[in-house]
């Protein structure tokens, strides 16, 4: 379809949109629309749309603005709360990772003592009477105290890391 534009379109459009067509239109412009298809289409379509707009606007029954304002307030607050929670979630994930990494590292480091642990567990199950003294005298007591130390250090690190990330992240 070839785009055919006419120099009279702007003037005709203004007259139709202002409701002055055809009464206020010059006779030569009215005569022009009978010979120019683009302008004839414009008069027909723009007039129909203007009348339809007036009818539709008259039929509109909008809600009260207060209800919409209230809904928008609720949603804004919800969105703001979600934005604020995002850095908190990041800090929690970081803290969890920071806690798990030393534990995994310690487990890997202590893997060489695994046969010793198994032997200790076997001895523990075979023992009918378990005394506290036996526990302290086993060879893994050093590993147990090391494990406690690492867990406490990891927890402290994770706490500090989480708080640091929380404060480092820009919040709105």
């Amino acid at each position: 379809m070839t785009l055919v534009s006419c120099t009279c379109e702007k003037e005709i459009r203004e007259l139709v949109e202002s409701g002055q067509w055809p009464l206020a239109a010059p006779p030569e412009l009215r005569a022009h629309t009978s010979s120019c298809r683009a302008c004839a289409d414009l008069v027909l379509v723009a007039g129909a749309f203007q009348r339809a707009r007036a009818a539709t606007i008259a039929a509109a029954k909008p809600d009260s603005p207060g209800a919409i304002w209230w809904r928008a307030q609720l949603r804004s607050r919800q969105q703001a709360f979600e934005r604020i929670q995002r850095p908190l979630m990041g800090a929690q994930v970081f803290a969890l990772v920071a806690l798990l990494l030393p534990i995994v590292g310690f487990a890997a480091f202590e893997a060489r003592n695994f046969p010793g642990w198994l032997a200790w567990l076997g001895k523990l199950s075979q023992s009918a009477q378990l005394h506290a003294g036996d526990l302290s005298s086993t060879s893994t007591s050093g590993s147990a105290s090391g494990l406690i130390f690492v867990v406490v250090a990891a927890a402290a690190f994770a706490l500090v890391a989480g708080v640091a990330v929380y404060f480092a992240t820009e919040r709105k």
């Binding site: 339809a52 509109a60 603005p65 919409i68 809904r71 307030q73 949603r75 607050r77 703001a80 604020i84």
Partner: protein, 196 residues
């Protein structure tokens, strides 16, 4: 205990402040005035573009809520009412597109006309049957372009802002749509003229 429960007061305060940051761009009285001036034209646009009065009601409410919640929404005081209204119409247009895309994962131009032609609603409330039948035979995008250009009187640049289309292509799309609906309107007028 979760962190959000451990720190309720500071978080609640920040959420309130952030919420006010978006909503406070327009106070409630200014919004009421803007709403009174723009709600009816927006509803008319939505009902004519969708051919569904109930859908137009829903989308109009959602458009205003999103407008008020948007951080980048133009403010009435600084950007003026025209910019605010264009932004509002853009939100409504995007919501219409989202609605049309939802049933099927296809471009709105590929969807059949019957999907958009819902009887009742707008057709029943239509005080004059002049434009309705022809408009329902147009594609959704054509209805939008025609309404924005000839009912709202927007320029090609403003229509491009509302629809997200390139400003250069608006002219051709609008020309085709106008020619098509003019033909439909003439066909519609012929039997009426012949019966008299």
């Amino acid at each position: 205990m979760p962190w959000d429960l451990a720190l309720p007061n500071p978080l609640a305060g920040e959420a309130d402040a952030a919420a006010e940051h978006t909503a406070a761009q327009m106070d409630s009285s200014a919004f009421a005035g803007f709403y009174e001036r723009s709600a009816r034209p927006l509803w008319a646009y939505l009902v004519r573009a969708s051919c569904d009065a109930a859908l137009a009601d829903d989308l109009m409410q959602e458009s205003y809520v999103r407008f008020l919640c948007a951080e980048r929404a133009p403010s009435l005081a600084e950007d003026g009412e025209v910019a605010a209204r264009l932004y509002l119409f853009r939100i409504a247009t995007n919501l219409l597109h989202d609605h049309w895309r939802r049933p099927r994962a296809a471009s709105i131009d590929e969807l059949p006309e019957e999907l958009f032609s819902i009887e009742g609603g707008a057709a029943q409330t239509e005080s004059q049957a002049e434009l309705g039948p022809a408009l329902r035979r147009m594609k959704p995008r054509e209805r939008q372009l025609l309404w924005l250009a000839h009912a709202e009187g927007y320029s090609h640049r403003e229509i491009a802002q509302v629809t997200g289309l390139a400003s250069a292509s608006i002219r051709l799309l609008l020309f085709r749509a106008r020619r098509k609906i003019a033909r439909l309107l003439r066909e519609q007028q012929k039997p009426a003229g012949g019966s008299q």
